[in-house]
Amino acid sequence: MLSQKTKDTLLGPLNVNNPVVVQILGICSALAVTVQLKPALVMGIAVTIIVAMANVIVSLIRNTIPMRVRIIVQLVVVAALVTLVSEILKAFAYDIAMQLSVYLGLIITNCILMGRLEAFAMTNNAWDSLLDGLGNGLGYALILVIVAFVRELFGSGQLLGFQVIPQWCYDHGYENCGMMLMPAMALVLVGCVIWAHRAYNDKEAK
């Protein structure tokens, strides 16, 4: 159904070419929104949509962009999209807009966007750019969800705001790990994910 190249473009970023654990992009926002699962999910979806749209737009106008100001043009496209999405969310999904608050604006500075626009969209056609944007956005969301899952489960004993660790455990001396709520733990967890990912893929390669 999909050619090998298309598959690589779409699915590569989920694993072997993951933007967070292989390209080490977008780490700062990964620290900020992963205390709980819900903001991590919403952030993942928002970045996926915006990186895909920005990729398509930049890819469509790539031949007209003056080389010397290309970064500025990319930035204008991303900033316009983020502002537009935030306006639309405020009008139609106010609760989610409030939940994302500052992080929505921070998508503009997410290095995954600039990285993909510069490395992929500037040299590829719109369809491939769309797939690349979706793939990278989902790859980013995947890592966010893994980290947020561990942090919310062990940090507050909850998942998506629902209590999952039963009261029984607390009665028998179990305690939530306060460390998990600190941003530093996100970095340690991302490190663990990178380690596991490298170890697995190195084995595959041999």
Binding site: V35, Q36, P39, N63, T64, I65, P66, M67, R68, V69, I72, V73, V76, V77, A80, T83, L84, E87, I88, K90, A91, F92, Y94, M98, S101, V102, E152, G155, S156, G178, L181
Partner: protein
């Protein structure tokens, strides 16, 4: 026709067009979505006031519930006080705003008719840490305020302190801070104190309707 996309004139014209197109697009979006956004902001505010009044609006239209309960707004300069009627009892709702750790925090404080006993509170925040400072919006923290008094035995307004469990406040009532969120908790404490002092005009007057004095001033402004 082959354009030199690297010439200065091309670059200049290109950027101008891009910026103008984007500006027009965003201005259009902003203009067309504004009524909906403002409606959302108003609805959010009404829901928060209902939250401070501990009214359950999950089964009904929040705006309708709001307008049946809150019929009066008192104005004291910049400060506004919402007067609500809950089953015959008068409650005053005072909007609050202050600073947390990462950004602004705000809320609504519902007082009983004696302008002393706290009936309920509701807090909101822009960007406090989820799982820590953001817990100020949750019921366990908010419920602590219910029934506390903002005045001391002499009747002076002294606010309610938010303090680490185990420490005692002198001459005022207190609630427990959220552990691990000291700055947000202190922010709530400071917010209550400074905002209540801004409402001195309201808190120090006897329960009288102040409407007549406010109205003509408003007309002059228009």
């Amino acid at each position: 026709m082959k354009l030199n996309t690297n010439s200065n004139i091309y670059t200049f014209v290109y950027m101008t067009i891009v910026v103008v197109v984007v500006a027009v697009l965003l201005a259009l979006a902003n203009q067309s979505l504004r009524p909906r956004q403002e409606a959302n902001i108003l609805l959010d505010k009404q829901k928060q006031i209902l939250g401070a009044l501990k009214v359950d609006f999950s089964q009904a239209n929040p705006a309708e519930v709001y307008y049946t309960l809150v019929q009066d707004t008192l104005k004291y300069g910049e400060a506004e006080v919402y007067v609500a009627n809950l089953d015959g009892a008068t409650k005053y709702v005072l909007p609050l705003s202050g600073k947390g750790l990462w950004g602004g925090i705000g809320g609504y404080l519902a007082l009983d008719e004696d302008k002393n006993t706290i009936y309920g509170v509701n807090f909101n925040h822009e960007s406090e840490t989820p799982g820590l400072g953001a817990k100020i919006v949750d019921m366990p923290f908010r419920a602590q305020f219910e029934g506390k008094h903002i005045r001391n035995a002499e009747g002076q307004v002294v606010s309610v302190a938010v303090l680490k469990a185990g420490t005692r406040a002198e001459g005022q009532e207190q609630v427990d801070a959220i552990s691990g969120a000291t700055i947000t908790s202190t922010g709530v404490s400071t917010m209550l104190e400074t905002n209540l002092s801004e409402y001195a005009a309201f808190l120090n007057e006897l329960p009288v309707v102040e409407e007549e004095i406010v109205e003509p001033v408003k007309e002059e402004e228009e």
